[in-house]
Symmetry: C2
Subunit: 336 residues, 2 copies
């Protein structure tokens, strides 16, 4: 195999303790000795065995990313943000699928992470998700992105404001019958969804419009779902002149549905999404953009902070700002 610390020690004429200290930049090592050790290690192509140092030190030097999906844009982009933050240091990134309803896991999350990662950042998983909650109770260092939390550090946009912003934009354009394409129909605590919906309702109410449940449908945050949801809205008694989609991907689906019905987004039905998805420009989609990669980076940094501070760490809530990007999918209603 590869050289061991003992071989390096022998070759450099020191003890393994000194090699260990020298290579990790610990104090109390003579500069000349350190140079000699480093040089020897290089010459022997020595790299410390992670398993051995993990076992001995109790630290794993890896952080886990917990995500329900890895290929969907939002999730993949957060992951890349985390990766970005990590490549600065020597930390490993362990990818763990969690909370994907289609592929439930058999082993409890806490057990899958124990002695395997020093901490984790969870993507779009609320802190009351069963597995996440369990993790927190075990005092597993955690940071969440995509939802705010009182229990652990979190990075997210203000979802209420986001909903308000998008809806107000449509109202300003003159729309009154504003539909909503939401996510999951079962209301099991998906805060993001609830908050955006609250913002939507708030904006309506504030402008003297009574929210109507008949203008809401659900698209499970997927393109296909968005398509179905739009079709459904189009088949309701009163059809909206504008629709607020809780994600760009659902908005993409909505666009496709409109097209199928011979309708044009922005002409026949105004559309606003959320995300700032790369393809929103292509789709001419008005959207409330969030700095997704940056959110991942911030979450990773917060986690590292927590890991280095230890016990006395105080959870922080970072709320990053969104930006309304207006494109031709949102325009005044036909009459105007």
């Amino acid at each position: 195999m590869s050289a061991t610390i003992r071989e390096v020690a022998t070759a450099a004429g020191v003890s393994t303790a000194t090699v260990s200290r020298a290579l990790r930049g610990l104090p109390y090592v003579d500069e000349a000795t350190r140079r000699r050790v480093v040089e020897t290690a290089q010459r022997l192509d020595y790299v410390a065995s992670p398993s051995a140092s993990r076992l001995a030190s109790g630290r794993t030097g890896t952080i886990a990313v917990l995500t329900p999906y890895v290929a969907r844009w939002f999730f993949a982009t957060v992951i890349s943000g985390v990766a970005m933050a990590l490549t600065e240091g020597p930390l490993d990134l362990l990818l763990v699928e969690v909370g994907n309803p289609e592929r439930p896991s058999t082993v409890p999350l806490e057990q899958r992470l124990r002695s395997r990662a020093d901490g984790a950042v969870a993507i779009a998983l609320p802190d009351d998700h069963p597995e996440i909650s369990q993790l927190i109770e075990h005092d597993f260092p955690l940071t969440v992105v995509g939802s705010l939390s009182d229990r652990v550090s979190s990075v997210a946009i203000n979802d209420i404001e986001t909903g308000r912003l998008a809806t107000q934009h449509l109202i300003n354009l003159g729309h009154r019958d504003i539909g909503l394409i939401s996510g999951a129909t079962n209301d099991d605590g998906f805060a993001t969804q609830d908050d955006r919906t609250d913002g939507y309702n708030e904006a309506l109410t504030r402008n003297g419009i009574t929210p109507s449940p008949s203008l809401t449908s659900f698209g499970s945050f997927t393109r296909e779902g968005g398509e179905r949801a739009m079709v459904e809205l189009l088949s309701r008694e009163t059809t909206p002149t504008a629709v607020f989609c809780l994600s760009d991907e659902m908005a993409f689906g909505a666009i496709i549905a409109l097209r199928r019905h011979g309708l044009t987004p922005g002409i026949d039905v105004a559309l606003v999404g959320v995300d700032g998805h790369p393809q929103s420009e292509l789709a001419n989609l008005t959207t409330v953009a969030q700095p997704v990669a940056e959110m991942g980076r911030l979450a990773a940094l917060a986690l590292q902070e927590k890991l280095s501070v230890g016990e006395s760490y105080v959870p922080s809530k970072q709320s990053v700002s969104v930006e309304l990007i207006v494109r031709s999918s949102s325009a005044p209603p036909k009459g105007n």
Copy 2:
């Protein structure tokens, strides 16, 4: 902390060796003993320390995914395919950024992986990429997806056929001046790109059309790049009536560029992409679709096969089939 194997052993009234064997399902342990051990382990909430078993066994139970990008659709989707294959077993997935020109790494890849993963699957990295090549020379178990290789197992589409298919489609529609939006301008061995280009040239030649370098531009496989490349093509002396884009994302950029110039894809300029990107439907983009997630899954399976077989493993080349999906972005030239 958590229970150790010794505590379980004591509690179950056996030796640690027996616990180890019982829990891992090894033979030569009495069924009654095994049950007792398993039950005890469960009761004590025991989970074997990965570091310890890795150190003792020499196996890491981890496979690394090497990728230049984690957020781009193709890469993210391959990763998800790998993850899919891994969740069947107890393997960890280590995510490693490699070969992203914008963020070069300081430590040699081989050292970053040594004793850290049992094997790796590399995404869209040719087997003659410096770091990958070095890995292969060190006999590090590797599988590549996105390019075929003679040195290690690989999963990919037939890129030549892909180029031919797309180009022939355009020719069949009646086009003669068929442009090409390729990837990187510097020809450092990106086989995928070269092969698709070969297929393009072949199709042209076979139909009596002489390929002209003045109809090629480069978009670095990004949307922005595709946009620039299209703008450039539109400014050439003879402008193509159709353009073959080596990726859907570049085609998206091309569409945007066309729109800026008041041109309509499929009417003024026919467009074909490669990938089967989820948003290709939204963009009405004709594309040569590849089963990306499946490719990731196959690569992961091949790697596991290699790991379990060992020395005598013979590298395999898996060529998965593509499918031309025709949409309105490709239509006969205006005159017809």
